[in-house]
Amino acid sequence: MGFGLLALLLAIDYLVLNSDDPSPRLVVYALGFSAVAGVPILRGIFFTRGNRMRKPPGVPVTKAQQPVLWQRVEILAEAMGTRPPKEIWMTADVNAAVHEESWLMGLIPGKRRMLLGAPLLIGLTPAQFDAVVGHELGHYSNQDTRLAGLVQRGRESMMNTLRAFRGGNNLSRVLFGLYKGYAERYLRTTQAISREQERAADLAAVRIAGRDNVASALRQIPALDAGFDFYLGHYAASASKLGLLPHTDEFIGGFRHLLADPERNEELDAIRRSLPKRKTTPYDSHPPMDERVAAIEALPEDGRGRDSGSAMEFLHLPAPLFGAVARSAWKPENNSKQQVDWATLLHAAGRAHALEQAGPLLSAASAVSGGSPTLMQVLEVVDRGGLAALCGRLPEPKIAKGTTGRLRDEHLRTDFGKRLRSLVEVTVADAGRGGWPLSWSHSHHFEIRTELLPEGFADRLQPAVEAVVAGRPSTGQLRELVRQLS
């Protein structure tokens, strides 16, 4: 179920981010929402599954490979008055967690294992790293991990049952009534325990890393979560369908470029500033993020301030480590994909995105005229009075649903114009006069190489496209510009 919810959130993000925006922004509202709702879900999944799994996702990091990281974790454990973990695994997600393989329902302590997400190492400062790791170790020192696994598993399966029953038939509603009372009581009781554990762990983290660094770390995690999803969708995995990937070392490591970009940083700031209030249920295992941050920020000033830099400084040769993490996380078919540099990758992704937009237009032109699916064929059909016929063959844009008359015609033409623009971009790019350059501020952003073209070409492009879908369609301007390409 946790995975289902996550998939839903990602689907929402995907829809928002793929709304034909030529330069997708890190859509703050949508991602902000899923980030905050998504963090506890991610954690939930790892908690329950991780306990059952013999082999966690990611790669083990030994003391010999990463002495500084281990030393840091050991210092933190000592400061918390608890034993350090036996193993540290680095994972490919925005997550940090501790597992303990306890026996006899938690009565006998077992092997402690720490999971650290590589994106956290990239995106947290050293003190924020201390805050997060301190929080996780806080669970150990409060002696809550051994039973926590059991409590959490119980909570998880009851939530699943409650959700499964909701919206069922009459019979299941009767059964649900019998079960509900018990389940709710269990959830309420353990929820208080679960939340109290989180609060205690937060306070423990404050003692180690200082108030401001813990608060900023809690604000940073939703921002990193949203940012990393965005990074995967628009950068690292953006040309995966075309068989292209960034170099292994950059697949996760490239996230640092996005975080370093001033414009993206502003967008992430919006998430950091306003943790959206989430509707809480009595069953949540974590207190709402905004409540936790508010509680920490209300603590007295401790003079520790905020630090800067990146927790990557704890890593010896981070690039190959991130590469190994990436290989452990992705599906086997990715191993056979071609690895290219960012500029090549993003150009290919931009072109594929534009071609996808243009596809239905090319098919429509080919179907109407019986000719080849080319830009020239589209213009031919328009010149023969076929604009409306072409519009009628495109997938109906959402905005046109239920409209009639001229309003509908114009909605269809607007959609046609966008697809035509994409087709023209592909044409310009394939003539070597433009492309989708590497930019961490804008993705899928087409740029014309003005130095290779007559003056004013770039300014005339959009008007020429719009002239094709104007009240009196005219293809002359666009034909003239296409001629200038050769």
Binding site: I399, G405, R406, L407, D415, A470
Partner: protein, 401 residues
């Protein structure tokens, strides 16, 4: 609608307008058997007793009572453009009327333009048809955008809005070339320029084209005034300067002093509703009303904008409890209510009848006073918004001096 009522009446809780059936039921009669009445459920009037048209006789679809216009609209809807062409030809150089017709037929063509295309094909050199086509594009663009606040307009809607609006200047220039003396294409372009976010200098150049052809065009002034509002591309100072210069330059009877009433209502009234009663009863509002009454008295009764002036005055006179003068305006307005301020509301008829009933009941309660003699022309109260020799008082409006 209730928020609009509040804005237009200055009252936090306007009396709820009741339908005829409700009013009749409240009076203990069967719906539909009694005479039609106006007003709130417990305070009603019999319009006929005051020589006022019944609610059912009001027309909200047209702002001028003109059978030829009605016939031309019907013809256009049936695909027949010739009566439209004849009507435009008859309007001749009455630019105000010509623009009004252009707007009405532009709205029709924004729904279905086949009759217009036939006209354009038959007479490609007809400037009236070209201007109607340009106006239809402006109105079509706004239909695509919808009237929602900008944050609710989707990306697709913005794309379509700008794409269609960008076609307007070319169409306007074409229409202007076909009838060089006619201000209509330039007035159409004023509306597009605002949507296209033209800069102040570019807009001033366009404005020069308008006033060169008709210096006191009321609708052109209303359109340009809104461009100069702080919420668009101007400021309080710029819009006051525009308004007062326009009124000062125009002869009495131009009706341009309605710009002042519109501005008081839209822009100058205090944000804080507690300050509003004092604002409305203040000296600068009284002065603006008096000046508008002088302007109206000198206007040509055939001016197509005359009901707009009367309607603005009616609202202001009700607001300032000048009942006899308010009733006089409602009598003169008659049955055509497709005007701002009524047309700003989604239910203009309800707003109109509610305001009209308030006026008549206030007049009755005051003992049916006679209309006072007209005021004489004065200059703007010193220190008021309209006294441009002193800095504008901004958030501290002159009250009740």
């Amino acid at each position: 609608m209730s928020r609009f009522l509040e804005r237009i009446t200055g009252k936090a809780r306007p009396p709820r307008p009741a339908s005829d059936a409700k009013a009749a039921a409240a009076a203990g009669r069967q719906p539909g058997t009694g005479p039609a009445k106006d007003g709130s459920s417990n305070r009603t009037i019999q319009p006929a007793e005051y020589g006022l048209p019944l609610r059912t006789e009001l027309r909200t679809d047209r702002s001028v009572d003109d059978p030829a216009l009605d016939a031309a609209v019907l013809a256009a809807k049936a695909g027949n453009w010739q009566p439209v062409g004849a009507l435009m030809w008859e309007a001749g150089r009455d630019w105000e009327r010509r623009y009004l017709y252009t707007w009405i037929f532009g709205a029709l063509a924004a729904e279905d333009a086949r009759w217009l295309q036939a006209w354009r094909q038959a007479h490609p050199q007809d400037g009236a048809a070209a201007a109607i086509e340009a106006s239809s594009l402006v109105q079509l663009a706004w239909k695509i955008r919808t009237g929602d606040v900008s944050s609710k307009v989707s990306r697709e809607q913005w794309d379509g809005f700008f794409r269609v609006l960008r076609q307007v200047p070319e169409h306007c220039r074409e229409a202007a070339a076909l009838s060089p003396e006619d201000p209509t294409p330039w007035v159409v372009l004023l509306g597009a320029a605002k949507g296209l976010q033209w800069g102040n200098d570019e807009f001033r150049a366009l404005w020069a084209e308008v006033v060169a052809r008709d210096p006191h065009h009321v609708l052109a002034h209303i359109s340009a005034q809104s461009y100069w509002l702080p919420r668009w591309y101007g400021s309080t100072d710029l819009v006051l300067e525009f308004t007062e210069q326009a009124i000062a330059a125009a002869p009495v009877g131009s009706l341009l002093s309605l710009l002042r009433l519109d501005l008081l209502n839209r822009e100058l009234r205090p944000e804080d509703s507690k300050l509003r009663p004092a604002f409305w009863s203040g000296e600068q509002v009284r002065w603006a009303i008096d000046e508008a009454l002088i302007d109206l008295a000198a206007a040509d009764p055939a001016n197509v904008r005359i009901n707009a002036m009367r309607s603005w005055l009616a609202v202001f006179l009700v607001r300032t409890e000048r009942w006899a003068e308010a009733v006089e305006q409602f009598r003169a307005i008659g049955r055509m209510v497709a005007f701002e301020p009524w047309s700003y509301s989604t239910d203009g008829t309800a707003l109109f009848t509610q305001q009209r009933a308030t006026a008549v009941l206030g007049w009755e309660a005051a003992g049916r006073p006679a209309v006072p003699p007209p005021a004489r022309h004065r200059s703007a109260p010193a220190g008021s918004y309209f006294d441009l020799t002193t800095p504008n008082p901004d958030a501290e409006p002159v009250t009740g001096r």
